[in-house]
Symmetry: C2
């Protein structure tokens, strides 16, 4: 069977080089990095080299990286870590409505502890308005967290504008860059951020890895209290093999990124053009230009996204409907709601995330199978043919 | 060079079987367990099988296991998770003075949030007095956390007595079983606990793995907020390969435990007898009987533990001085202080942790090298020969 795996935001296989770098650390080089003797100290040294590689990928310094078990953990550490460290200064936090669950649910947790949270709306393309942010800031505001790129609609925020407002006001700024690091060039100095979360799997590292960048001298309360690991900022024995995989993946990502961006953009554009051409009643979601190069997201009228994902998978085509973490949790995506997609249309959400390993043949295969799948599902739909408001109002692209 | 790796509490190589079980999940079976299609759902199924294996090792039910990235994370989740879920009921917590840093520092964090914490003392063998616990309980007490076995002195608490007091009073009880699971038989029903933390590496799984047992219907606030993973109790993409390693290791541990206990106890007893015979001025720390079978811990007069560990490592003998997470953080171990060892004596702490892979030849090798190392370091010590109080008071075993 032909196969087209186009759900790289959910998961990707690690490169052989990444696996081979990690493999010796399960059996042969098994020492605990905290130990004083050679079996441990050699591992500690290799671990610190990986910290340097991750730092280099995002223009940071080695000592500004904390390894975590996921991008979600990095987001939790950033938000709760700043909140608990600075709560005497103020208890107000600002996030956007389209943040990842790990950010939104961290914010909601803080609300239970008497923090106040402002949830900023976004426009129809998914962009936060910097002026609206400015207005939301109070003397109590200690942290603003706005994601770099959105995993469901691909929109890339104008982070520099947002962060410069925070800088002027003396407020810490965090960005969730899980969807962007490894997919576009990300530099913490250009973005001018205090904290930035990244996920290992998004850049070709194994599951169970992630990191938080925190600008030197940013005070943080640990999320996982414990011993001396990560300079006292995260307890628990380090996931040594995972971190080595993360370092190797960061090194590869750094080298291959420009070529990857070109390649996936070409495939993405072909996919989008093909869909516009071949399928009617489709909303193309997210920003038309300011978007991740390998990311294509749609809503198909009168279709359940989950059914479409499933049907496509029968043809070896792998896609998603919203984010992997939420796909079973929610019926209507809060991100699509935030950009003004009516619930009935949001149901038909489909996301393709393309990686360097994909080929134009795979895109052609999708363009061959997808129209039939859509047609088949619409033929079974009781609402097909009864045009919904979103399409009448011109959000529709076909 | 002959080698005797006797620091298994710090780290162990994983078994070949464990590595081979994990390996396919980095490249071939890379799906995200949250996905609806086969590449993901098959991985989800395997992941759930591992949950069953971990549950079986400790007599729990599958749905009572939350996978974490370490034993430290499990401890943080238990303590903060219960505290934040039950704070309306009361804000008092009880822990012992000899808990792991991940427990103690979680408790100290809660103190900053206006929780009250009682730190229970222990006797000279490291045991908590259940009557003292009873006296410490107030109407505000919502959680008691007492570790099962101590990593530095090997003492195994009378958990059943402690937990039955908590049951009677309607207070949740958590035990940190990181040092015990995989080394002795641990059954959550026999121990009668509400929550129990375990660490992957302690039972032969790779670093970066752990789990929390929580009795059905125990309310917990997540530590890592996020999506639907772990039934909404822990966000972030699962460390799939790590979890599969943990499941396989749990399966092996279940099968091999009785034989392992016999084997390591024999080696440990030979090591202790040999040291008693060959070296003077040694304190044998922890409980003489109620202790982990592969655990031997000492304080050598007039010696710096770290120097001894380092010198032994030059001979290929690997040991520890206190716990791996604290070895660089603290000069005097709070655990040794809690059992009444004076700081000068506590400096000379040495811990051996023996595993199934060790042999009597290795013990003999240690007994050949250790006396020379001790003698050499004492010959360099300015305080050697000036007897310290601890030895005069009869704590000394030699």
């Amino acid at each position: 069977m032909t196969m087209a795996y186009l759900d790289h935001a959910s998961a990707s296989p690690v490169e052989k080089e990444v696996f081979e770098a990690m493999a010796p650390y399960f059996m042969e080089r098994f020492g605990n990095p905290s130990n004083v003797y050679d079996l441990g100290s050699k591992v500690k040294q290799v671990l610190e080299e990986q910290r340097g590689k991750v730092a280099e990928l995002i223009g940071a310094r080695k000592e500004e990286i904390i390894f975590t078990s996921s991008g979600a953990e990095a987001n939790n550490l950033a938000i709760k870590g700043v909140a608990f460290a600075r709560q005497k200064k103020g208890k107000h936090i600002i996030v956007s409505l389209i943040e990842h669950h790990s950010v939104l649910n961290s914010a909601r947790f803080l609300e239970r502890l008497d923090f106040e949270v402002t949830y900023l709306p976004v426009d129809a393309n998914g962009l936060v308005d910097p002026l609206r942010l400015l207005k939301a800031i109070t003397p109590e505001t200690i942290l603003v967290s706005i994601m770099h790129a959105n995993n469901e609609i691909g929109t890339i925020q104008r982070i520099e504008k947002i962060s410069s407002i925070c800088k002027e006001k003396g407020i810490l700024f965090h960005t969730d860059a899980v969807a962007s690091v490894g997919n576009i060039d990300v530099d913490v100095n250009e973005l001018n951020v205090d904290l930035l979360s990244l996920s290992g799997p998004s850049l070709g590292a194994p599951k169970g890895t992630g990191a938080l960048y925190f600008k030197k001298n940013t005070r943080l309360m640990p999320l996982i209290h414990g011993g001396i690991q990560e300079d006292g900022r995260r307890g628990g024995t380090e996931n040594v093999a995972g971190i080595i995989g993360l370092g190797k993946a960061a090194e590869i990502a750094k080298q291959t990124l420009p070529e990857k961006v070109q390649h996936v953009k070409k495939l993405r554009d072909a996919l989008v053009s093909g869909i516009r051409e071949k399928i009617e009643k489709v909303v193309f979601t997210g920003h038309p230009e300011r978007r991740l190069p390998g990311h294509a997201s749609f809503c198909f009228e009168a279709i359940e996204g989950e059914s479409l994902v499933f049907m496509l998978s029968q043809h070896g085509i792998y896609s998603n409907t919203g984010s992997a973490c939420a796909s079973k949790a929610l019926k209507t995506s809060p991100v699509l709601t935030a950009i003004g997609i009516p619930p009935a249309v949001a149901q038909g959400s489909l996301v393709f995330t393309i990686n360097a390993s994909n080929s134009m043949e795979e895109i052609e295969y999708v363009l061959e199978k997808l129209p039939h799948a859509v047609e088949r599902l619409r033929s079974l739909s009781p609402i097909w043919g009864k045009q919904t408001a979103a399409y009448d109002e011109g959000v529709c692209v076909s």
